[in-house]
Symmetry: C2
Subunit: 391 residues, 2 copies
C-alpha cells in the first residue's frame, strides 16, 4: 500500500491515481457497473481500465460479483461480472493524540464517516500506551467488521508545531518515535499534522463551515490557536507555522506570553487569562463552567471580562480577515461555550475593523464537531492526499 | 480554443489536459521525439496519444517534421515523423491595465517569457483606446514573428476589487465591457484579476521570491495593497478580497481612510501619508523622489517619517505572518525605493511582534519586477489555469 505515497513523485503516477479516483468516483455515483460500462463512462482504454480495476480489486477497495442480482440471464458465455465499492473496506483512519485523550474516526471507500470514538487518559502516558488505546478504539468502531485491506493511510493529529506537517516526514521532538510506531502497528503511511489545524480542516468539511472553501478557525482554550483553510485545503505556511492567531500582538505594553512575545492575544483571551481577569474583578471561578454559571446568573463582572476578551478577539480576526478574506469564521474551544456573551463583542470589533466592503460577506459561527474534530481532520488529510480528483 | 475553459468542468477533461501537458512537458525536456518515443515516455495508449498529438498539432503548439535532421535514413517505409514544440507559438499573453499605462508580456509554449512592453497614457482613456495600445504592444513584442495559433488565453490585471477574480467571470463595474472587448480582439478566453495580486504572483515566480511557494507581497504606493501567494497559487479569498493589508487597523483613534474605516495602515504608510507627515515635520517634498533626495542628503525628518511608517508596516506584517506563515515577504511600490531607511524599521517591528519561533525563518526582500509585474502575473495565471501538471 505504500505505492500511494510514491505517487507524489511524478505526472505518470498522478495520472494513475487520477484514473483510480475516476473509477472509484463512477462506482460511488452508479453503485454497480460492469467493466464495459466503466469503460464507456470513464473513456479509459481497455488496457488501462483492466490494470486500474485489477489494482482496486487486489486492495479490497472494490469487489466483483458474478452478475448483477437483477440482471437477465445471458443466453451463453460467462455471466457479466459487475463491480461495486466494498462497503466493508476502510479507506482512512484519523487519530488525534490530544494532551489527555485519544480520539479516533474511520471512513470507508465511499468517503463516509463510519464512526468515531474517544478515550481520556492521564497526561503522562507513553506513545506505546496511547497507540494501544488508538488501536483498541479503531477496532471498536465497527465491532471489528471493517476490513482495512483498502486502507490507504492514517491521518494523525498531535499537539504543537511540526516541521513538514501534513505528510510522512512531519516531525517534532515531542513525537519522537511515534510515526515509526504507528507505521509498524497499522502497516500504512502515517500523515501527521497539528491537531488544531486538523480540527479547522474538519470544521470546513463536516462542521460549522461545511462546504466553505475559505475558513478561519480560532480555538479559545487553555491556549489560543487556530487554522486556515484556503481553497478547501489546510494551509500550513512555508515552515508549518500558520494559524498562530493566539500570538498576534494586541497590546505592545501587555503581559509576557509563553511564546516569548509580549501582549499576544493568548495573554488576554485564553481560558486562564479570562479567569484571571474575572478573579481580578472580584469574581470567584476555578474553571470555565463556574464562569459560565456566573454569567447565567447575571453577574456583570463575568459579562465584562468576556466582552473585553471578545473585543480583542474581534480586532485580531479583522486583521486576519483583511489579509486572508475567508467566507466563514469558526470559533471553537471551551470559551466558545459562552455563546453570544463572547461572540457579540467579537462581531462588534470585527465589523469596526474589517474592510467595510467585506463586512456583510462574512459569517461568524460556533464550532460543531467538538473533541473529535482533530481525528476527523486526519481522515480528510488522507482522503485529500490520496485523491487527485475527488476534491 | 475555448475548449480550454470547458476543461474546468470534469475529471475527464482534466485528464485530457493532463495528457496534453504530459506531452508538452516531455517535448520541453527532450526537445524532439517521435510518436513512438512519446508513447514510451508517456505510457499513454496509442489511441490516446494520437488524439492528443493531433490536437496539439492543430493548435500550432507542436510542429511535425518528416524526420530528425541527424537521423540515419530508413531502409524502407515512410520516414519517421518527429515532433517538437513550436517556438513561434505564443501560449500566453499578460496585460496590465494600470491607472495611467498599459503593460504587456508574452510567453511561448516552452513557458519562456518572450518579452514585455509598456506605454503610459492619460488617465481618461476609454477601454477601446487602452485595448488598442495593448494590441499594438503585443504585436511589437516579437516584431510580429510570434504566432498565436497556440494561444490558450490572456491574463489581464485591472485596478480594484473584482468578483470571481482569476477567471472569465471576473467582474467589477469599473471594467464593464472590457472582457467582451478583449475576447473579441484576441479570440481566446480572458482571465481577469486584480493587478496588485498578479504582481504578487509574478514576484513569486520570476521576481524577488522566485521559487518560494508562500509569499506575502505588500505594495506601498499611492494606495497600500498586496497579495498572498499560498502553495504557489494566488490566494483570492472567499469573495475576492484577500491581501488587503492596507486596511488593517493600526490606530483605532487614527485618521479616516478612503475605505470607510479608521486608522488603516494606508492612512500612515501610503506615499501621500508619508509625504504629509514629512511636510508636517517642516520638510518640503512634492513627491517621493524629493523625499528620497532629502533622505540621501541626511535630513533627519525624512529618516524619521520613514522610520514611523516602517514600524507600522512591520507590526501589520507580523500579524499577517503569524496568521499565514509565509517564507518570504516582498515589499514593492514607490516607497520601497527608500531601501534600508524603510526596511530596517519594518524588520525591527516585524521581529518584535512575530511569533519568536518564526523569527529567523522569514526573509524580507525588495520587489524586483517593477511595473511589468502585473502583466507577468497575467501570464502565470494562464499557464497555471491551463496546465494541470506544470506547476
Amino acid at each position: 500500500m505504500l505505492c500511494g505515497m510514491q505517487s507524489h513523485d511524478g505526472p505518470l503516477a498522478r495520472l494513475r491515481r487520477g484514473h483510480e479516483e475516476l473509477v472509484l468516483d463512477l462506482l460511488r455515483k452508479h453503485g454497480r457497473l460492469s467493466r464495459g460500462e466503466l469503460g464507456t463512462h470513464s473513456r479509459l482504454s481497455r488496457t488501462t481500465l483492466y490494470d486500474i480495476v485489477g489494482g482496486l480489486l487486489a486492495s479490497g477497495a472494490v469487489v466483483a460479483s458474478a452478475s448483477a442480482p437483477d440482471a437477465a440471464p445471458r443466453k451463453r458465455g460467462r455471466p457479466v461480472e459487475t463491480l461495486t465499492l466494498n462497503p466493508e473496506a476502510g479507506q482512512a483512519i484519523g487519530i488525534d493524540f490530544a494532551r489527555r485523550g485519544v480520539h479516533v474516526a474511520a471512513a470507508n471507500v465511499a468517503h463516509e464517516i463510519v464512526g468515531s470514538a474517544s478515550e481520556p487518559h492521564a497526561a503522562d502516558l507513553t506513545w506505546a500506551e496511547r497507540t494501544d488505546i488508538a488501536q483498541r478504539l479503531v477496532r471498536s468502531l465497527t465491532g471489528g467488521a471493517l476490513q482495512f485491506g483498502a486502507l490507504s493511510a492514517i491521518g494523525v493529529g498531535v499537539v504543537g508545531p511540526l516541521t513538514d506537517p501534513g505528510g510522512e516526514a512531519a516531525y517534532s521532538r515531542d513525537i519522537d518515535g511515534l510515526p515509526e510506531l504507528l507505521h509498524k502497528r497499522f502497516g500504512v503511511p502515517v500523515l501527521l499534522d497539528n491537531n488544531t489545524r486538523l480540527a479547522a480542516l474538519a470544521e470546513s468539511v463536516w462542521g460549522a463551515a461545511a462546504g466553505d472553501e475559505d475558513v478561519v478557525y480560532l480555538r479559545l482554550s487553555h491556549g489560543v490557536g487556530g487554522g486556515l483553510v484556503v481553497g478547501g485545503s489546510l494551509h500550513r505556511g512555508a515552515y508549518g507555522l500558520s494559524g498562530e492567531f493566539g500570538h498576534i500582538t494586541v497590546d505592545t505594553a501587555g503581559a509576557p506570553c509563553e511564546c516569548g512575545g509580549v501582549g499576544c492575544l493568548e495573554t488576554v483571551a485564553s481560558v486562564g487569562a479570562v479567569l484571571d481577569s474575572y478573579r481580578a474583578a472580584g469574581g470567584r471561578a476555578d474553571d470555565i463552567a463556574a464562569l459560565l454559571a456566573a454569567l447565567d446568573s447575571g453577574d456583570p463582572a463575568a459579562r465584562d471580562v468576556l466582552r473585553a476578551a471578545g473585543s480583542q478577539v474581534g480586532t485580531v480576526l479583522a486583521a486576519v480577515c483583511n489579509a486572508v478574506g475567508p467566507g466563514v469564521i469558526v470559533i471553537g474551544g471551551e470559551l466558545a461555550a459562552a455563546g453570544a456573551a463572547l461572540t457579540g463583542p467579537v462581531e462588534e470589533a470585527l465589523n469596526a475593523h474589517i474592510l467595510p466592503l467585506s463586512r456583510h460577506r462574512l459569517d461568524l459561527r460556533q464550532a460543531t464537531l467538538g473533541e473529535v474534530g482533530g481525528a476527523l481532520g486526519g481522515i480528510r488529510l488522507v482522503l485529500r492526499e490520496f485523491s487527485v480528483l475527488s476534491r
